[in-house]
Amino acid sequence: MIPEWPRGTEYDELAELLPAPGDPALNPERRRVLRQHLMSEIGRKRAAAPGSPRGRRLVVWAAAPLALAATVVTGTVVVTGLRGGHEVVQSPGAVATTVGRPPVIEMKDGQFLYERRVMTGEYAAYRGDTRVVQREDWLAVTGRREGLALTGPRPTAAARLDPDAPTTEHMAMSGGADHRELRELPTDPRQLLAHLYRETEGQGPTHEEAVFEYISGVLEPAVLVPGLSEALYRAARRIPGVVVETGVRDRIGRTGTGLALSSSGTTRPALVFDASSFVFLGVEGTTALLEIGVADRAGEPPVDSWNLGTG
């Protein structure tokens, strides 16, 4: 047990120095409205949650799949030390894959960022019994409109999921990183890191984990922002405690440089980057980004996209 703060001393002195201002009460009528609102929102979310019949829509937060992979999973990376951001673990024999640099793809307000990736079933929020799931996302460029995500078993004959297939699940996407916000981020790694530390000030469990998690959450959309992937990679490896590892494989076996941050005694799977262009490839063993581009409408094939290959 953690010993109690000696009450009657510092607490009392603090309360004397600055007493709590008044006892503001929530108006009973407003309280009823807020409660009713919460209950109806919960009802909505439950109606759309996994386990309900196909065709009903699940509203999820856009960064969910990647954030989930980066935060919830218990790890498999062997880490040799946690002293600084520059430790390199060599995995002999692995040859790095190179996907090259992304082309310039213009994105207009009103369009949708399109992402296609494979991931292990448990990270894809897919209800079907499939070990390898493909997930395709359409996220509004301005972040203000509703987007779409499709998940289903990874197709063998075609690149994309068939939206009408009975195994394909539809989810509405609310939120997502605003593409314009990403374009405003500094691409100098030092400035970027300083910015991210400010942005996450006070967040936990440690400030380092908060910054690392923030980076994990924007790596995919950052691929199409010139210079940002590499800046995020270089910023992430400067975070104290981040371990750099070569020869790390993503879900489809592409090999790149891994960055991992261990937290609370557990090590999470590494984020995998292309060893020469520093484009984000996926999460060690769990996800792999296959294609990223821009689409005119949610659910439609992209009008312009970059194929990162199938490894």
């Binding site: 953690i2 603090l14 929530l26 009528e29 807020l34 919460l38």
Partner: protein, 217 residues
Amino acid sequence: MEHSLRDRVRAGDPEAFGRLFDTFAPTVHRHAVRVTGNWSTAEDVVSLTFLEAWRLRERVLAEGESLRPWLLGIATNVMRNMTRAARRHRDALARLPPAAPVPDFADEVTQRLADQEELVAAQRALSGMRRAEREVFTLCVWEGLDTAEAAEALGVTAGTVRVRLSRARKRLRALTDAERARMPAAARHPSVGVPTLARHTGEDRCAVDQCAEERRR
């Protein structure tokens, strides 16, 4: 009781969330008004806190006592970055009926006006602290969390909470001393050692405002 409430919250039982709201909404609201100094912002904080609680329900530990530290921790996070929280729950907030511009009861208006002056004075003092100190101070001293509970709410160690509290005390002490030094003797609070930063009623209110003017120069 609390034990099973935790289980039901984790399992996403709507009734448990209704109970959670009934039990803790007033606490979250009071905390938000005191911290932000703004009544309508505080209502948004209440909504966002419970929507976030629903989103994060699986992170509730199976074991533990009151869920108050957990909810106040979520409220703290919401207030750190209202824009992000509001964006995350944009659609839900859009469905929230707006508050009536003027409360229905005249008494409440009077009460709010009285509180408002205390809130403004408290805001001035809080602005002299760093955010981390302010969070620990308001949770521990105003909401009465002990160091272990505040540590749970903020995701830091109890030791960190103590250090931040101690810093908050130093800053407040310095602020109070500075204020006393600038105050004309006649306007000082009659009894020694009684707070000067808030709870000003009656005649000494204008003296304090005058001090605030001086600080701004």
